[in-house]
Every structure is written in structure tokens, then in C-alpha cells.
């Protein structure tokens, strides 16, 4: 039988098909492990060490460009902007005075009722580095990580409302899943009548859905939905979405309700990470019903 393999002085390691088999089965293994179990965090972090500096580095030219273009702004525009900002500050300052008075009053009333304020809040400022190139999900990468005390599960908002939630944290960057992502759910409350619901991302376009609401649910176009705060994760009262379209069809058990996010989800460069902490723990879960014991044999 004739030996068809190349002579030993042309040896180049393993044959290409074998290499293909090895590398693709390794990739498949990693995918299954990552998809079904969460064992790979250390490995992910090891690779993140290589790519994190690059992620930060890419922000530098962008910042430089904004600085340079900011330097060459017309003076007239600056003066106009300045006047606008002054006016806005005056307005907000007046509202803030009222807010402080109201807050004091609220604390006083709460102490009278012996109801503790459930949340203490700290915010961290973060900048969006880029949006992940994955068309299947809606995620952004921000420039703060576990070294800056960011934790998975924290809420990310801008000055108008909720943007998303921190889902994965690396040392100096973290991933935020936007509320428009397919799997992202936010518990909300209707401002008009206090109706509670859960808002899900649509995933296809930039809208949100309110599924599982009965056809006669009291929701109208233009209703403001804010976080209800009952999950202990999102602080209450943050604007989430505005109802934009309602289809009530008696043939289906649920109404088809879609809304538009309040926050500028696709337009921001800067966001706030809300470090919400519960000052009182969640109430304990009701005890599990005792499993029915098999009748003991009588002694």
C-alpha cells in the first residue's frame, strides 16, 4: 500500500481538517457551556483583559473629535445656549426648592405613619463606549466596571427615564441591556390610575410591549408608565414609557399594547448608573406549602 501522507520534512503540524474539527468543537463546547450554564465568567474575564484597553482606547479619538469641534463653535450659538441654560436653571431651581420642601414633608408624614423610606440612592456617571454589533440583542457597553463598584442588576437611566440594566460586569467596562431588548422586563405602574403591569422590550424595533393585559384593561394612548418599585430593584417613579398604540380585539384574550420608551435610548452618549439599595429588606416569602407526606406505616 502506498503511503499518501507527505514526507516528514514537509511536516506542518496537524492536518487542516483535523484542526478544523478541534477548533470548531471547542467553540461549540464553549457555546453550550455559556448558553446553558454560567461557568465561563473567569474565562470571559481573562479575554476581557485583552480587549478592555482597546474598548477604552477607541473612545479617546471620539472624545478628541468632540473637543476639537466644540472649540470651533460660533459665539452666537454659545450665547444662545447659555441664555437657554440660565433660564432652565432658574426654572429647575424653583422646582427644586419645592421638591426639598415636599421631601421634608414626605419624610415627616412617613415617620408619622411609621413607614420607612425604602430606598437610598447613589448615582454614578458613565459614558457609552459603543453599541455591540450583535443585531439579535440591544446592548451598549459603558466605561465603568467592577473597579468603579458597578454591580450586575443595577439600573441605568438618563435625565428623562430608564435606559436599561447592567447585565454583565468586567473590571473596567460593563454591558447594559436596554429596555428595548427582547428579554428585558420592567415592572411599571400607570401614573393616571396606578394600574400595575410589566413592560417587555420588543426586540425588533425600538418599541416596548405590555403583554398579558386583559382586553378591558384601563390603559389609554398617551398614558405615562413609571417604575412601580415593587421588585426592590428599580426605584419607584422613574419614567419608562408612554403608551402609543392599543389594539383591543375580543378574539384574543389579551390586548395588544405597544409603547415608546421615554428615555433617549438610542441618542445618548452619557448615562447614570443608579446604585439603589433597599434600606429595609424585602418582606419574607410566604412559607412553602408543606409537601404532602406519605402516610407513615403504623407501628
Amino acid at each position: 500500500m502506498i503511503d499518501t501522507s507527505p514526507p516528514p520534512f514537509f511536516k506542518r503540524g496537524l492536518s487542516p481538517p483535523l484542526r478544523l474539527a478541534i477548533f470548531s468543537s471547542l467553540a461549540l463546547l464553549l457555546m453550550v457551556m455559556d448558553g446553558h450554564y454560567q461557568y465561563l465568567d473567569t474565562l470571559r474575564n481573562a479575554f476581557a483583559v485583552i480587549i478592555n484597553p482597546l474598548q477604552h482606547g477607541m473612545n479617546a479619538p471620539v472624545q478628541l473629535a468632540t473637543k476639537v469641534s466644540g472649540f470651533f463653535v460660533a459665539q452666537g450659538r454659545l450665547r444662545g445656549e447659555n441664555a437657554d441654560l440660565k433660564e432652565k436653571q432658574l426654572l429647575l431651581g424653583g422646582q427644586l426648592l419645592q421638591f426639598q420642601a415636599l421631601q421634608a414633608e414626605n419624610a415627616h408624614l412617613r415617620s408619622l405613619f411609621d413607614a420607612k423610606n425604602r430606598y437610598s440612592q447613589k448615582t454614578t456617571f458613565a459614558e457609552i463606549l459603543y453599541a455591540g454589533r450583535d443585531p439579535f440583542s440591544r446592548k451598549i457597553i459603558i466605561d465603568k466596571g467592577s473597579l468603579q463598584d458597578v454591580k450586575p442588576g443595577q439600573v441605568v437611566a438618563d435625565q428623562i427615564g430608564v435606559v436599561g440594566q447592567v447585565t454583565r460586569v468586567y473590571p473596567v467596562v460593563s454591558e447594559v441591556t436596554l429596555i428595548t431588548d427582547k428579554d428585558q422586563a420592567v415592572p411599571v405602574q400607570n401614573v393616571r390610575n396606578g394600574l400595575r403591569a410589566v413592560v417587555f422590550g420588543n426586540g425588533q424595533d425600538g418599541t416596548l410591549d405590555v403583554p398579558f393585559m386583559p382586553v378591558n384593561a384601563d390603559l389609554q394612548n398617551g398614558d405615562q408608565l413609571v417604575t412601580s418599585g415593587i421588585d426592590g430593584l428599580y426605584p419607584p417613579g422613574l419614567p419608562v414609557a408612554v403608551v402609543s398604540k392599543i389594539e383591543r380585539n375580543a378574539a384574543f384574550p389579551f390586548a395588544k399594547i405597544s409603547c415608546l420608551p421615554s428615555a433617549g435610548i438610542d441618542r445618548q452618549r452619557q448615562v447614570l448608573i443608579l446604585n439603589t439599595q433597599l434600606t429595609t429588606p424585602n418582606p419574607p416569602r410566604p412559607p412553602e406549602p408543606e409537601p404532602v407526606k406519605h402516610a407513615k406505616p403504623k407501628r
Binding site: F23, L28, L30
Partner: protein
């Protein structure tokens, strides 16, 4: 204008340092877009670079590099760990089979092959994500492969500029004395 097609001149081999530098640059370019539309249209520069280097430097860049870069892209995009790795590995294997044929073609003919190769990597990623329960993201998902193929001629021209500087007398001399 100098004729820069691969047939005309024996090109100098690219240095390993240049390959690594170009791949780092490609990673950085993949991290640029930040809006929903640009991220769909943005070509995958790492895939383009892999096709380029496997075609012209098949001894230096192969399946291992593709796999490793794929894992880095998985971290960068925050997707399933191993998704890009598998797609790049299979794409590079196809390129390895075709690389002698691609070398002899004109840039625009090459870009047809590049379109096919990029499409293969996208289809693999699509199949993986559908298998893990994601909805189909729409036909615009394939747009980045078209844009990558259209960019290919100018891309490969830029990449080749560096390898085609004229050999100086010193180069020739040092080659003889070696």
C-alpha cells in the same frame, strides 16, 4: 500608477508585527459604531482581515488565530461565548481551501468570493442564534457582508501598499549575503 495586483510583483512577506498591528486595528474598527442602524451596516473588519491574511499569508494566519479573534469579538459584542469563534473558524477553513484561486483573481472578482465568505460567517452566526432561541432579525442582517465585499478592492489595495515598496539595493545585498 503602479500595478499592484498580486501577479505582477513578487510581494515581500508581511512581517508578523504588521499582521498583529492590523488585527488590533481591525478589532478597534469593529468597536466603533454606537447606533442601531450603523451597527447593522458596519462591515466586520476582523472577518475581512482574516480573509486577506489567510489568502496572502496562509502560513502565518490560520484556524487558531481565527478562533482566538472570534472569542475576543464575542466578549466585545457581548454575545454567546464561541459564536464568532465557530463562524470565523469555518470561514477561514473555506478561505484556506480557496486561497490559491482567490490570489489569481482581479480585485472585483475577488470581492465576489469575499462576499460569499462573509455571508457564510453571517449564516453560521444566524443558525447558532436561531438554535438558541433568538428571533430572525430581518434581511438587513446580511447587509454588512455586501458592504464588506464592496469595500474589499480598496481595502486589499491599502493592505498591499506596504508590502510593495520597491526593494532597495540594501535589501538585495543583504539577501545575497545571508
Amino acid at each position: 500608477m503602479p500595478n499592484l495586483s498580486a501577479k505582477s510583483v513578487l510581494s515581500k512577506p508581511a512581517s508578523g508585527r504588521f499582521i498583529v498591528f492590523s488585527l488590533l486595528l481591525g478589532l478597534a474598527a469593529n468597536l466603533l459604531p454606537w447606533s442601531e442602524l450603523t451597527k447593522l451596516l458596519w462591515p466586520d473588519f476582523i472577518a475581512l482581515l482574516l480573509v486577506y491574511w489567510v489568502t496572502y499569508q496562509p502560513r502565518h494566519v490560520g484556524l487558531g488565530t481565527a478562533w482566538f479573534l472570534g472569542l475576543l469579538m464575542d466578549i466585545a459584542d457581548g454575545v454567546l461565548f464561541g459564536q464568532h469563534a465557530l463562524a470565523y473558524t469555518l470561514m477561514v477553513y473555506m478561505t484556506q481551501i480557496l486561497h490559491r484561486r482567490i490570489q489569481t483573481l482581479s480585485p472585483w472578482q475577488q470581492s465576489l468570493y469575499v462576499f460569499g465568505l462573509l455571508l457564510i460567517s453571517l449564516v453560521i452566526m444566524l443558525v447558532i442564534r436561531l438554535a438558541f432561541g433568538a428571533p430572525f432579525p430581518g434581511a438587513l442582517f446580511f447587509a454588512s457582508s455586501v458592504i464588506g465585499a464592496v469595500l474589499w478592492p480598496s481595502f486589499s489595495l491599502i493592505m498591499r501598499l506596504r508590502q510593495h515598496r520597491k526593494p532597495t539595493l540594501d535589501d538585495t545585498y543583504s539577501n545575497i549575503t545571508k
